[in-house]
């Protein structure tokens, strides 16, 4: 017996099934649907122990569908509407929804609903992770480094809003589509970043967040009406970053900074896919932050060694990025690039104009940069004191360990 189930089958299947069933039964039944889909997986884990069905996906779909109908039947108010569902015309409709292209369509609709402007940004991400990507409360809270209760609140607020405002399970009207697509990209970008920049202890969570973001961008790219330069650039950016995802943390679960990463371990096939996507962006006139961020990532990937990094080119892209979107974090990055270029006076000048609190939880990077600045000026004592500030300002254990290690190195000097 070949006991192999496709990786992440359940997770991906969860999102698909919820989307299709919501499309059919409506958002007002989303909680019943989520329960039904969850029940289906529990059933599978028990039933499949003895024999895996020939077509696991079809099995899951069938069971989830029947379970939803059962659950809805048991809700009296819904009785009249749904009691004949398994036969007759409605059965045909629901079966059609399970065709491949309809499944994709339902998932895309769900993404657009998740990014509806009535939901707050933080609710959007939590809702997307739950409903589209099948993350559990615990997983979401670990992924976003937020308490389970808070996530629970965000989820129920999101669901309430969708039902109360009677948000349709559909794409936004043509006039709104560009704006909404922008928000969709932003949510996916943030999801990816949570995975990529998070120093979450669990490697799986990091990789899963990135994987989900990439999967959904790919899903969007399948539809011609959503394709634009921005979307291709976002996809490229995610591929470039992902190519070095596994080099970022070593076996001992310690951070490996880019200057110490084993460049031969960067995953070339992803870089190639990213390059192809970058070429695609040329077919469109639009330009976005994702374009510049991808260009910066490429520069890092191009350099055979850290020392050979073309910092001037990176600086140029960062300046472009800052022109387009003057974010304080980008400004800090420009200072860091100047540090690499040894333009110490520029660095000092820039750092002194930054209001640290604007950097929020990334403030430690500011202090880290200051520490490097003093290190380069051979003022080791000052460097150490800034490292201390950096350590104080990160709640992230992995970052903390990294900074402490760096501090030890300096103390030996």
């Amino acid at each position: 017996m070949e006991n192999k189930i496709v990786d992440h089958l359940f997770r991906h299947q969860y999102g698909k099934m919820v989307a299709i069933l919501v499309r059919f039964f409506g958002f007002s039944n989303i909680e019943t649907i989520e329960d039904a889909v969850q029940d289906t997986f529990v059933k599978a884990t028990l039933q499949w122990r003895n024999e895996i069905p020939k077509n696991p996906e079809a099995w899951l779909v069938k069971v989830a569908k029947n379970r939803t109908i059962d659950l809805l039947r048991s809700i009296k108010a819904e009785k009249n509407r749904f009691n004949k569902i398994s036969s007759g015309a409605s059965a045909i409709v629901i079966n059609e929804l399970f065709l491949d292209h309809e499944i994709e369509d339902s998932q895309l609709r769900m993404i657009f609903v998740a990014c509806h402007p009535s939901l707050k940004p933080k609710e959007q991400i939590a809702f997307a992770l739950k409903t589209i990507s099948g993350f559990s409360l615990k997983e979401i809270s670990a992924a976003l480094l937020t308490k389970e209760e808070t996530i629970q609140k965000r989820l129920s607020r999101a669901k309430k809003t969708i039902i109360k405002k009677d948000i349709q399970f559909d794409y936004p009207p043509a006039v709104d589509i560009e704006k909404r697509l922008d928000r969709v990209m932003e949510v996916l970008y943030l999801t990816f970043n949570e995975g990529f920049h998070s120093t979450n202890k669990t490697k799986l969570i990091r990789e899963d967040l990135c994987g989900e973001a990439i999967r959904l961008v790919k899903l969007l790219l399948k539809k011609e009406k959503f394709r634009n330069g921005k979307l291709y650039a976002l996809f490229a950016l995610m591929c470039f970053h992902s190519s070095r995802l596994s080099s970022k943390i070593n076996n001992k679960n310690e951070i490996v900074t880019i200057n110490e990463q084993d460049r031969s371990k960067w995953y070339f096939p992803l870089i190639k896919i990213g390059n192809d996507a970058m070429n695609k962006t040329m077919e469109y006139d639009d330009i976005s932050c994702y374009h510049y961020e991808a260009a910066i990532a490429v520069e890092h990937l191009k350099a055979k060694t850290f020392e050979k990094t073309n910092w001037n080119k990176i600086l140029r892209w960062y300046n472009k990025l800052y022109e387009l979107q003057p974010a304080v974090f980008t400004y800090l990055n420009i200072a860091i690039v100047n540090l690499q270029l040894n333009k110490l006076e520029v660095v000092k000048e820039m750092l002194d104009t930054i209001v640290v609190s604007d950097l929020e939880q990334r403030a430690y990077l500011y202090y880290g940069c200051y520490a490097d600045y003093f290190f380069k000026r051979k003022e080791i004592k000052k460097a150490i004191s800034y490292l201390d500030k950096a350590i104080q300002n990160t709640s992230n254990n992995l970052e903390k360990e990294y900074l402490k290690k760096r501090k030890l190195q300096l103390e030996i000097i």
């Binding site: 189930i5 359940f10 884990t45 039933q47 122990r49 099948g134």
Partner: protein, 115 residues
């Protein structure tokens, strides 16, 4: 060789609210264990049980619903394996996937009646 029943108690997936990903991971472990035992030719049967319980008890045949049974006391399924002795089954039971979820394996020898 004798027959032994491994009875799995507790670790009710439904009650624990595992995510789809976690459920799939659990299932993979069950598969691996199942395959291992089949490969050794010691697995003689087994079933998983639906977590809905009815109790009939007492002279009046009083019926109670199992909602009173706590998840951690619930029998979730069993396997029958053939082995030299109970110690050998303890060895086999090392691979039971759900200890970390509070699950227990109870090992009982199947009684053989004299003919």
């Amino acid at each position: 060789m004798k027959d032994f029943m491994m009875i799995f108690i507790g670790a009710d997936y439904q009650e624990l609210g595992l995510s789809p990903e976690q459920l799939q991971e659990r299932m993979g472990k069950w598969f691996a264990w199942n395959d291992k035992m089949e490969g050794q030719g010691i697995l003689k049967g087994g079933n998983a049980l639906v977590p809905v319980v009815k109790h009939v008890s007492g002279p009046n045949r009083t019926i109670t619903d199992g909602s009173l049974v706590e998840g951690k006391e619930l029998v979730g399924g069993y396997y029958i394996v053939s082995a030299e002795n109970a110690d050998a089954v303890v060895e086999i039971a090392q691979d039971y996937p759900d200890y970390d979820l509070g699950g227990t394996v109870e090992i009982r020898e199947v009684m053989v009646f004299d003919k």
